[in-house]
């Protein structure tokens, strides 16, 4: 009788985990689509095509013409995705035992509601750069939160946390000492991810202050290696230059982090996956940045550049979370044996 109940509970748990797995991945993907929709609004200059909020021209559904297609389309996607994030939170409370994951679900829902308010304010206050940039910066946080929830509900996470990294490290003769590699990789990944976020915020401020083409050529700057002093005085040039320098810094930090991740690939293949994805995404991202300038900010390319930045950021966050979860294991084992 008791065995049957245990078996039944186990089946319930497995079914719930399966539901959560699909649901959380769908929500994270939905948030990514929302980011792309938001990027298209900015890239097409449609941010104020609908001058009122929360209604659009006093209606729930205005004619979807011109810039309204992008701005109202973004609102519709936002409404749908916000609802999904709310449902995800509800599901986590019902089906998820881990308190931390539930709290992440709450944080994601609070963040997306705040995001809606910021979106409304940016319309009502006629796109003030500070609020518009905050709207863009918070969007990345929502994406990261929902992605981490999806990660923690995945089989990858179960495998990762079930396996003692320290033992794997000890079994591997190529790795020097337990935990050292994981800790080093965690630090490097965390620093690179933080740098990517700063770079994204810089990009958002640049976009919302109209400095996207403040330096009109690439890879040169006004035909030289460094902008002339008089050009540097012009509005937006310093900011644009900072974003370019930021790209170089991010590239260096990501390469260092990728190297550290690659050393852990023998321990768990997920790290080599992160390393490969990150390298590819950062390379594509730099190319998209160049194409945005060469195309004089073609909407599709600038939107793709924003989407690429979001993916780079989230890969970093997920890698850091995975490493963060692993790196405590070696210490525990280590201190236990000492």
């Amino acid at each position: 009788m008791s065995a049957a109940r245990t078996k039944e509970n186990g089946a319930h748990e497995a079914r719930n985990a399966g539901i959560l797995r699909v649901a959380t991945r769908s929500v994270a993907f939905g948030v990514f689509l929302l980011l792309v929709a938001g990027a298209l609004v900015t890239s097409t200059g449609s941010g104020l095509a609908v001058p009122d909020w929360p209604l659009s021209y006093g209606k729930v559904m205005p004619p979807m013409v011109g810039g309204i297609l992008y701005e109202h389309g973004h609102r519709l996607v936002a409404a749908a995705v916000s609802t999904l994030v709310g449902l995800e939170m509800a599901m986590l409370f019902c089906l998820e035992r881990r308190k931390g994951v539930r709290l992440l679900g709450v944080a994601a829902f609070v963040a997306i509601l705040s995001q809606a308010v910021l979106g409304g304010l940016t319309v009502l206050l006629l796109l003030p750069p500070a609020i518009s940039s905050a709207h863009a910066a918070l969007a990345e946080v929502v994406f990261a939160l929902t992605s981490v929830v999806a990660l923690m509900c995945s089989k990858t996470w179960d495998d990762l946390t079930a396996r003692s990294l320290s033992l794997s490290l000890e079994e591997n003769p190529n790795i020097s000492s337990r935990g050292v590699e994981a800790t080093r990789a965690f630090r490097r990944v965390a620093v690179a991810t933080a740098a990517i976020y700063v770079q994204i915020v810089l990009g958002a401020v640049m976009r919302h202050t109209g400095a996207g083409l403040a330096i009109p050529d690439f890879p040169a700057a006004f035909g030289g290696l460094w902008p002339p002093a008089d050009e540097l005085q012009r509005r937006g040039v310093g900011l644009h230059l900072a974003h370019r320098i930021g790209a170089v810094v991010v590239l260096a930090l990501v390469l260092a982090a990728v190297r550290a991740l690659a050393r852990l690939s023998a321990v768990n293949p997920v790290f080599s996956g992160f390393a490969a994805a990150w390298t590819g995404l950062v390379a594509i991202q730099i190319l998209l940045g160049a194409l945005s300038i060469w195309s004089k900010k073609a909407p599709s390319l600038t939107a793709a550049h924003l989407a690429g930045g979001a993916l780079c950021w989230v890969v970093g966050v997920l890698a850091a979370v995975c490493l963060g979860a692993c790196r405590n294991l070696p210490n525990a084992v280590s201190s236990g044996r000492a």
């Binding site: 001058p51 009122d52 909020w53 011109g66």
Partner: protein, 281 residues
């Protein structure tokens, strides 16, 4: 957890979530412009009454009234070098606009006639005018017609009313992007709608655009006096009723930049001041 317990918990959390979402959606507040048709209400209308009651810049108490005279400045603004081919596009973003303008249409940012005259150059007295000039009682007008702004470039006196019309059977928003004046973004979804706004401070130029139809763009030069003109299709202009004096005349073009010249006119005298623009100047 048992099935019924999960369902109850799920329903409770969903209800709480939905309540939070409804509360958040309700934070938008109420539209202030109750006189407009409900479908026409949009942000920007709220600033209407404030702008309408604002005191005109030119009515500062205690300053001397500006003089007028019979002098005039005329001229022609021409383009030097190979005439750039106008950039063309299709108004496919809105079926109404496409019906009004089938096929490809030229952008209005560089209209150069066969005799090299440049249309839509804003020419005004930049300095040399003293005293204050009250804004004219007649409003300046900008009309959204055929998914274009009419006029594309215009001038007005600081504090003068600007009537904004929508003659199109499609919706527009009109969004001003001043640096010194108060910005507005008005939704005009209904044909025949009219708003009245003011720019209280001199500012050359203020960009006006429609975010629905990205090609719709206009420029407004706001000056403290009535001595300005916009070039006609042949590039000519006339600034009338000037008092005698020495003035700096500035010509502004949205693509070719600005140029200035000094001129001295006597009472009832007419002088010619021409400008020549080049590409990328």
């Amino acid at each position: 957890m048992s099935g019924p317990a999960i369902r109850f918990r799920f329903a409770s959390v969903c209800a709480a979530t939905a309540l939070a979402a409804v509360l958040a959606a309700g934070c938008g507040g109420k539209d202030e412009d109750e006189d407009q048709p409900k479908s026409a209400r949009a942000r920007g209308a709220a600033t209407e009454s404030a702008a309408a009651s604002a005191a005109p810049a030119a009515s500062a108490a205690g300053s001397a009234a500006g003089a007028t005279g019979n002098a005039s400045i005329t001229g022609k603004i021409v383009f030097e070098g190979p005439i750039p081919a106008p950039e063309k596009f299709k108004m496919t973003a809105d079926a109404y606009c496409l019906k009004q303008n089938p096929g490809e249409v030229a952008r209005q940012d560089a209209e150069i006639g066969p005799d090299r005259g440049i249309k839509d150059v804003f020419v005004y007295v930049k300095s040399g005018i003293t005293g204050t000039y009250p804004p004219p009682a007649t409003p300046a007008v900008i009309d959204q017609r055929g998914c274009r702004y009419h006029p594309h470039v215009f001038g007005m006196v600081a504090g003068q009313s600007l009537d904004i019309l929508n003659s199109d059977d499609t919706l527009h928003n009109i969004h001003s992007l001043p640096e010194k004046n108060e910005s507005f973004n008005l939704g005009m979804p209904v044909k025949g709608m009219k708003y009245t706004k003011k720019f209280d401070k001199p500012e050359v130029m203020i960009h006006i655009k429609c975010d629905v139809h990205g090609w719709m763009s206009a420029y407004c030069g706001v000056v403290a006096h009535p001595f300005f003109a916009v070039t006609a299709a042949d590039g000519t202009y006339t600034i009338k009723n000037l008092p005698a004096g020495t003035y700096t005349i500035e010509a502004w073009h949205e693509k070719f930049g600005t140029q200035t010249q000094q001129v001295t006119v006597g009472a009832s005298e007419s002088k010619s001041v021409g400008f020549t623009f080049k590409a990328g100047a």
